[in-house]
């Protein structure tokens, strides 16, 4: 039996799946023909919206006078909270706190207070400047420290415990304690936030929105306008990047466009320029973390106590699940026998922070990785050795703090392979030798692993729908609830459906995501796009295929098992029909050629009250080795070489997966190195354009960059074609860059002390860390000079 099943290898009929099929829009991208919302031919009487923003971080709004705005020629409408058509004024996802227009109180500099629609954007901008708003400034909380002091929180503190961390730490032979600052991050999707609302008959609205979550936009628009959901259709063909920044943040622009369109009866486009986009919209949470960890003489952790405080900004938005995920990843890949994780969700008078690739996971992982690095330096061991000693076990030591068993751990093998392929041991020795003779430039090396939980932690989001039509010419039209933001979701899903029907990839077309075709969808987020929508689309395709098999079996009197779809043909016993022929025959015999598909992730069950259960269907793994060189006089550095080995299960599309791995890594590297958000003393964001906010550029790519997909992995869970999610996990591979920098700094004092370093590791922070270290070990610049003189 076993041998027989091996012969009918299910992989043998795959033509698209497993192939490096180019992105289905690639040719449109390179020729400028791909249509983003701002490229849609503008309706004749289009109005342009401009959002009037708060001039204070925290203030009472005593009066809003828009009469001068409305009096400007070319202005069609201006609205503030008082002008809303219903008493609904909140677009918070789940929790309230995000008004469309601030009412009576503003809680961050840049918050939406009113909006203008005018004939041109320039006129709308000029008109907005005429608004008279009377503010009474109030004291503002602008930092996590201040929020902690004032106990200002958007959501209550949560604690996750197992065993008795305090006791375990007290009893430990060794312990470390410290504090780590972790910076936030702007998404910097290249296409800024945008929406265009077009009035339809009977007060209905069609809203084009650059969003990861069309269904939520539909709900917000209908709620604010007092319409039923069936009156609002939201369409998203593609985004010019999302990264989590368009999971909830697109709502403001869509709702404002819809409000103004509804009020004027004219189409309205709301597009933020780069500066306004960065000022108005939320970012990755910055964190302050405190750790206290007990460990034994081998470096194994006996107990860990973490306190994570994050800047949520002025409202909850997605801060609840973001911070939950930070807690769920404070173990990263390591077993913590006794643990307490406390999570403070701090309220500040800054923009409400939101989803960003990794969704709290990266910040959680930074804490445990920092602690392990400190332990290794205390013990004088290579941090990699300490990391390996603390990895989750396979038979024991394999239960997470939230009681989920780690069943699919492949890190020991993965790390061993990466150590080999990256030549870790030899390079570790070479770096030590090079540092001994290089007084001014020091090199550093670090290998860090990633274990990332896949599924929405809110269990009910783990569902998806799809709609498949087969037309009588044999072409297939496919829709699913996911959105395309560049990650190649549509390409992968089309590959799956093409192979289901045994037809060529280009016979399948995926068109714009619309709430009119697939309803009640979840956000395309949590790396789950392909897992959910790939399965749902497969189910839909299989429904049609089963009808075709049933029909063909009866028609040609062949057993259903003898009917095979492959290579644009259908083998029916000894007879062969082209796929098109079978479809035309089936149509004439009145077989339904359209179907919906639905998928709900099995096994996940998690109780948010106790923070226990199985929040994740499975884990994705990876590891990276980074080597850097730092300039000890300036704090500048260069990432010289990176080796990555990453687990995507069995890849559906190795080119797209590699793109996610490499792109995620570089984005994570930016978060931990050059990307720094800076607010001034009045709570104004000063880094709101690429001139001041520095994402990695081309030359920041490591000179040697070897990223590979694990070629022996297979998802043990029943995920589509045994693949694994890949959107978020690779971002955290970049943690290796941060610790390579820390390693290089430690070389300044010949590894006699451990440097203190917060993220992002800007040249300034690196130089300060170097100077602090030199002061600590009694040396200073003279030390370098003496060495140089020798």
């Amino acid at each position: 039996m076993k041998r027989k099943s091996k012969q009918s290898d299910p992989e043998s009929n795959l033509r698209s799946v497993r192939q490096a099929v180019p992105h289905d829009s690639a040719e449109k991208h390179v020729s400028g023909e791909a249509i983003y919302i701002d490229d849609i031919p503008e309706p004749r009487n289009l109005l342009h919206a401009y959002i009037g923003m708060s001039a204070h971080a925290h203030a009472r709004v005593k009066k809003i006078d828009l009469s001068a705005v409305r009096a400007m020629p070319g202005v069609a409408a201006a609205m503030c909270a008082a002008d809303l058509p219903t008493d609904h004024n909140d677009i918070g996802p789940g929790f309230a706190g995000d008004p469309v227009f601030a009412d009576k109180i503003v809680e961050y500099h840049g918050q939406s207070v009113f909006a203008v629609a005018a004939e041109t954007l320039e006129l709308a901008y000029e008109a907005a400047a005429k608004a008279v708003i009377d503010y009474e400034p109030l004291p503002a909380i602008l930092s996590i420290e201040e929020a902690l002091k004032q106990k200002a929180q958007v959501l209550p503190t949560l604690t996750l415990t197992r065993g008795d961390a305090t006791k375990a730490i007290t009893k430990s032979p060794r312990k470390i304690a410290g504090k780590l600052g972790i910076g936030g991050q702007d998404h910097f999707y290249l296409e800024g936030q945008i929406a265009m609302a077009v009035p339809q008959e009977g007060g209905d609205l069609l809203v084009y929105s650059s969003t990861q979550h069309p269904t939520e936009i539909q709900h917000h628009v209908s709620h604010i306008l007092g319409l039923h959901s069936h009156a609002v259709t939201v369409e998203t063909r593609r985004m010019g990047g999302g990264f989590g920044g368009k999971e909830t943040q697109g709502a403001l622009f869509a709702v404002i466009a819809a409000l103004l369109a509804s009020k004027t009866g004219r189409p309205v486009k709301a597009r933020a320029d780069r500066d306004d986009d960065m000022i108005i919209t939320g970012k990755r949470h910055d964190f302050i973390a405190e750790y206290e960890v007990g460990y034994d003489d081998t470096g194994r952790i006996t107990g860990a106590d973490f306190t994570l405080a994050s800047r949520c900004g002025m409202s909850p938005d997605l801060s609840g699940p973001v911070n939950d995920r930070a807690m769920f990843h404070a173990d990263n890949a390591y077993y913590l026998p006794h643990v307490r994780i406390v999570s403070h969700r701090c309220k500040t008078h800054t923009v409400s922070n939101t989803a960003f690739r990794g969704f709290g996971g990266p910040q959680g992982m930074m804490v445990i990785e920092y602690a392990l690095d400190e332990i290794a330096r205390e013990l004088g061991l290579d941090p990699l050795e300490v990391r390996k000693r603390n990895l989750y076990g396979k038979r024991d030591r394999n239960v997470t703090p939230y009681t989920m068993k780690v069943e699919d751990n492949i890190l020991p093998e993965l790390i061993a392979e990466l150590e080999q392929s990256s030549d870790y041991a030899r390079r570790r020795a070479a770096i030590a030798a090079s540092n001994a003779t290089s007084p001014h430039l020091k090199k550093g090396l670090a290998l860090t692993p990633v274990k990332f939980g896949i599924s929405f932690t809110a269990t009910h989001f783990n569902q998806a729908g799809a709609l498949v039509h087969v037309y009588t010419d044999g072409s297939v039209h496919l829709n699913h609830g996911g959105t395309e933001m560049g990650q190649g979701l549509n390409t992968k899903v089309a590959q799956i459906v093409a192979d289901e029907f045994g037809i060529d990839f280009d016979h399948v077309k995926i068109t714009a995501t619309t709430t009119g075709k697939v309803p009640n969808t979840s956000a395309t987020a949590a790396s789950s796009g392909t897992d959910l929508n790939g399965k749902a689309s497969q189910v839909a395709a299989r429904t049609i295929k089963q009808r075709l098999i049933k029909f063909a079996a009866a028609q040609f009197k062949v057993a259903p098992g003898k009917i095979v779809f492959a290579d644009n043909q259908v083998q029916i016993g000894r007879k062969t029909l082209s796929f098109v022929e079978l479809i035309q025959l089936a149509y004439k015999r009145r077989v339904q050629l359209s179907a919906t598909g639905y998928f709900a992730t099995p096994k996940v069950a998690y109780d948010p009250k106790t923070m226990r259960g199985r929040p994740f269907f499975y884990f994705a793994y990876g590891a990276a080795v980074s080597e850097v060189v730092i300039d000890t006089l300036t704090g500048e550095y260069k990432v010289e070489r990176v080796d990555i080995l990453h687990d995507v299960g069995k890849s559906i599309n190795p080119a797209i997966d590699l793109g996610q791995i490499e792109g995620g890594f570089i984005q994570g590297m930016g978060w931990l190195t050059s990307e720094e958000l800076h607010w001034d003393a009045k709570g104004r964001l000063m880094t709101h354009a690429p001139s001041t906010y520095k994402i990695p550029a081309c030359s920041d790519l490591p000179r040697q960059f070897n990223a590979r997909i694990v070629d022996w992995s297979r998802n043990r869970e029943d995920v589509v074609y045994r693949s694994k999610a890949v959107g978020e996990p690779p971002l955290m591979l970049a943690i290796s860059v941060f610790f390579a920098i820390k390693d290089a700094i430690a070389a300044v004092c010949d590894y006699q002390a451990s440097p203190r370093l917060d993220a992002p590791a800007t040249p300034e922070r690196v130089l300060f860390a170097i100077e602090a270290l030199r002061a600590k070990v009694g040396g200073d610049l003279d030390h370098a000079l003496r060495e140089a003189a020798e």
């Binding site: 400028g32 010019g240 006089l633």
Partner: protein, 485 residues
Amino acid sequence: MSDTIRFVMDGEIRELRDVSPTLTVFNWLRESERRCGTKEGCAEGDCGACTVAIGERAGERVRYRAVNSCIQFVPTLDGKALVTVESLKHKGKLHPAQRAMVECHGSQCGFCTPGFVMSLFTLYHNAENPGREAIEDCLAGNLCRCTGYRPIIDAAQRMYELGRKDRFHARASETAQQLRAIARADSLALEWQGQKYFAPKSLDAFAALVVEHPDAVLLGGGTDVGLWVTKQHRRLATMIYTGDVATLHTLEIGSEFITIGGAVPYTDAAAALAADYPDFGEMLRRLGSVQVRNAGTLGGNIGNASPIGDTPPLLIALDATLKLRRGGETRELPIADFFLDYRKTALKPGEFIEAVRVPRAKPEVRFAAYKISKRFDQDISAVCGAFAATLAGGRVTRIRIGFGGMAATPKRAVHAETALLGRPWTDANIRAAMRALGGDFQPIADMRASAEYRLMVARNLLLKFFLETAGKQGATRVIKRDIAA
């Protein structure tokens, strides 16, 4: 005088009149032509999503340069050719730069892609077998948030394997003919709803216009002025364009001086300066992306007197002089005396920078310059330091130190210089000079750096200069590039 802007696009001579002189090429393309392939990512010339190629005649050939269309005003197209992403695909066939991007999986969300394609198009036309550094440099002004750049670098190599000649090569002489046909004997002058734009051709005419309109904005590459319009929404009443004045474009390498006309773009100035001062070349490379260097001018960098302009500290250290002209009169001014206060210069009303004179390199003068920023490429300096020292018998016989980012203007570090002048070039004296820098500067804190870091790193740059010039052991730079001219 003519009021019609003429340029070549897709083989056609286009004529435009009755447009605002501050209409950007980007807005014209998208709004009037509905060519929406060109994207806006920042509207300040920092992301490159709006990159287009500008063609200029070079004999019977055409030289293409990448620029940011979002901050390029339409009148500056006059006499040139414009190539956009829509121009490349021909009869359904992708250009090698486009095909290579598809094959190498160089696009994900696709929004930055047209800009990358246009940068690659100019690379395809300007380089034969570019190495990794040349590719990185060509793409430094194009930001991608999805791919991490590796596949795009691959595409930059791959495109040459897909054919060495494109349609633009085939049509070069035809395009050159068209450019010759629209080259004007007269000069362009526009007036639109009270806005005036002059593009004189002779130095005399330019000088006369500047005297006549002392409040006019002198427009060079527009890499700063463009932002006054796109970011600050300023209405510019009168502009006088330097780009058509041949004399301002001259670059003369004499035995004593390199003389660079005020309107010479960074790209052209870099070649001349790098030969004498490799660090000057590297500074110009890091000052901005290719798109910025192709448009921005040395005269503009000096004239706008930003405290964080990257060339003034170097020019101060090198004792450069400025040739200033007002009408028919000229005067020479040491550049250190040019900067009076924040954004205030010694220029009199009606006066402008005709040329910059930089002394040639001398064997006894050691020169180094350093730029400190969060990112190496296409970033604004937190601190920029430049040092020129003449050493004789182990003693400092002459020293000039210029810093940017440390004060309200680019500024000489006189205290530090004094601490070194006439003294032996030793560790102890450098330490003293490092301390003396505290008397020269009380820098500010902002989003680029804290005051403490600025002073600390400025001191360390002086130390670095010492280490590099005193024959001390050990590498001192994390990026060491071949400064190819």
